[in-house]
Amino acid sequence: MNADSPRSGLAPSRPQTDPRLERLLSHPALWRAGAAARAPVWPSGFASLDEGLPGGGWPRSGLIEILPARFGQGELQLMLPALAALTARPEARWCVWVKPPLQPFAPALASSGMTLTRVLIVRATDRGRRPAALWAFEQALGSGACDSVLTWARHAPVRQLRRLQLAAQRGNALGILFRPRESARESSPAMLRVALEPRRGGARVTLLKSRGGTLGALDLTWEAIRREPLEAS
């Protein structure tokens, strides 16, 4: 199968099942209640995480929330394999970082496989009432020029999040919103909400909300990153 083509959303994928059953289940006339997330995905780069995510990876278009207890506990490391693979494709669109809290360190990004020419940093300073960062985030998501858009926000009203989700679907982009763990109490229209706690050499990832997938926690180690190009030649 072409790694770039949309994966069918069997969540979680079961490699040990009977191939005849697989064939029967993949019949287009058959609709399964659990397969609501038949959306195309990008592999996350972690085999164990892909199994737990609906469809077997991060959604290609839509808003996801990453909720670490504190900034810098591995939330960027979690997304980095997917982002790097996205920017490395020949037809890559922009990977936009809206108002990053610190300076993204270019040598580290490059050594983890990011193509820096596809990375765009937006330094938004708030003017007036509308927060500039969320405005720029929405513009980038809806423009159709971006594969992935990242931003860091403390407060985001639900109405605003719903607009962001719609913009992401319009622009066929993956919106990644990093928020503090406390915001898990608020409701959100995001497709995925992932909480993150640091572990030695890795992190514990908890799926708090997973549209069409299973909830639960799993431990990841950063050494387990699969480096494989998204493009199968």
Binding site: Q103, P104, F105, P107, T115, L116, I121, A145, P198
Partner: protein
């Protein structure tokens, strides 16, 4: 051979009259030209203008000052031609009677030049090349009659022709220093020694060969003003008022197959000075709708001191536009490109957030963390990326091979308090692994001498710290692994 179409303007004047000393250089028989194609009264008269300030080896081809001068010169005649780097030619035969003859014309033109604060020398001649040579002749040169041209040119030094230095030197070896002496050389031998190009120059100089000159046309710019029927301060109403002007601009640019890179809006008030609103674009743009969208974003952030009574749209110089063909694939798909929408996004963000708000990152092969990267404007880095990477040391993207680096860098290293010689950051820090020494940069005055450590804080975050090698051995936080 047929007579050139520019005959009534640029064709050679009559041959020197019989009274003039017949040059030894035999003229080419004007075979193709009808014997009396040009009426003597209609024979062209060229006015050469020489700006000594603009001549010199370091001058660009056609300077802005020359364009300004040429635009001014169009007041006297529509037939203006540029002779870069320092000359302008005017065909003034039919303008003479309008400006009071040669004297009046000279006075008027010198007045214009004085307004531009330029000192110029003028010369009149029946051929354009002779007019240019005459301006460089160091003395008044006014030849109104073609019959006197050869005689008047005779004492002018050869250097005024601006031939290559080597040619001038070889002529000097032959003892030839004036144009008169050159004209007396035998044609065949001259062509053999110095090339037919030089012989053509001589023919053009005395009017034996036609010398077509490109006509100067001042670049057209778009500028429209619109009075509002009511005073308004609402940005939606102003945007609506500007829309027809933008549509006109779109038509103007489409007709010329051009785009603009800059746009300026002026809003006139009752008492205050007009408010300016500038728009700069990433690539030449001619689409009125797109310009309206960008201008709309800009207007939202514009502060108006007073209601607006009139608005004016001024476009920058039209520049050639590259047209993109639409792709078959959707952006982001296999084979699809998102260049056009990418530029659109960058422009929209720039208009709202400022020019410097959008940037890409670039690697610099340097071991100092703060010098190992730099900011670049989007698009600029694409050109840099296509350059081949250096052969040794850095990898394909130009990064040095180093130990793992943190994903986040603090813009300014943060001083950490110490307790018993060890750093603290919101609690105790556990140092991990061996330190990495970075000691470099002595050549540019920003040298560093540091020992970098990885550390883990009480929240489980991995941090990147350094300890200065020099006393008092202070500790700093420089990065977060993220």
């Amino acid at each position: 051979m047929r007579a050139p179409r520019t005959i009534d303007l640029f064709a050679p004047a009559d041959l020197p009259a019989r009274s003039a000393p017949r040059p030894a250089v035999q003229p080419v028989a004007p075979r193709a030209l009808p014997p009396r194609a040009i009426q003597p009264s209609r024979a062209p008269l060229w006015l050469g203008v020489h700006v000594p300030e603009l001549s010199g080896p370091g001058q660009p081809g056609t300077s802005r000052a020359l364009l300004v001068l040429a635009a001014r010169a169009q007041r006297f005649t529509p037939r203006v031609s540029l002779a870069p780097p320092d000359g302008v030619l005017l065909e003034v035969r039919s303008s003479l009677h309008l400006f009071g003859g040669v004297e009046g014309l000279c006075a008027a033109l010198l007045g214009e030049c004085a307004e531009l604060k330029r000192t110029v020398t003028l010369a009149f001649a029946p051929t354009p090349l002779a007019a240019l040579v005459g301006t460089r002749a160091q003395r008044p040169f006014r030849v109104l009659d073609a019959a006197q041209l050869t005689g008047s040119l005779a004492p002018v030094p050869v250097t005024a022709l601006r031939w290559p230095q080597e040619t001038i030197e070889r002529l000097a070896c032959l003892g030839v220093r004036t144009i008169g002496q050159v004209l007396r050389l035998p044609r065949a031998g001259f062509a053999q020694r110095f090339g037919t190009m030089r012989l053509t120059d001589l023919d053009r100089l005395v009017g034996r060969a036609s010398d077509p000159r490109e006509r100067f046309e001042a670049p057209a710019r778009f500028r429209r003003r619109r009075e509002l029927s009511y005073e308004s301060a609402s940005h939606a109403q102003l945007a609506a008022a500007l829309r027809p002007l933008l549509a006109e601009l779109g038509d103007f640019l489409t007709a010329r197959q051009c785009g603009v890179l800059a746009l300026e809006c002026l809003f006139w008030h009752r008492r205050h000075a007009p408010t300016r609103c500038e728009l700069r674009l990433g690539e030449p743009q001619a689409d009125a709708q797109r310009l309206a969208q960008l201008l709309d974003e800009r207007l939202r952030t514009l502060a108006l001191p007073e209601p607006v009574r009139a608005c004016e749209l001024r476009a920058g110089l039209p520049v050639a536009r590259r047209l993109h063909s639409a792709g078959l694939w959707q952006p982001g798909e296999r084979g699809g490109r998102a260049e056009a929408s990418g530029i659109e996004l960058i422009e929209r963000l720039r208009v709202r957030l400022g020019e410097e708000a959008i940037e890409t990152l670039q690697l610099v092969p340097d071991h100092r963390p703060e010098a190992a990267w730099c900011r670049a404007a989007p698009g600029a880095s694409a050109a840099a990326a296509s350059a081949p990477p250096p052969q040794d040391g850095p990898d394909a993207q130009g990064a040095l091979r180093t130990a793992p680096r943190p994903l986040w860098l603090l813009p300014v290293p943060r001083r950490l308090p110490q307790h018993g010689g060890l750093p603290r950051y919101r609690g105790t820090l556990h140092l991990e692994g061996e330190p990495e020494r970075i000691e470099t940069g002595w050549w540019d005055g920003r040298d560093v001498a540091r020992d970098y450590y990885n550390a883990r804080d009480v929240h489980g975050r991995r941090l990147w710290l350094y300890r200065e090698r020099e006393r008092p051995h202070r500790w700093f936080l420089h990065g977060v692994y993220g």
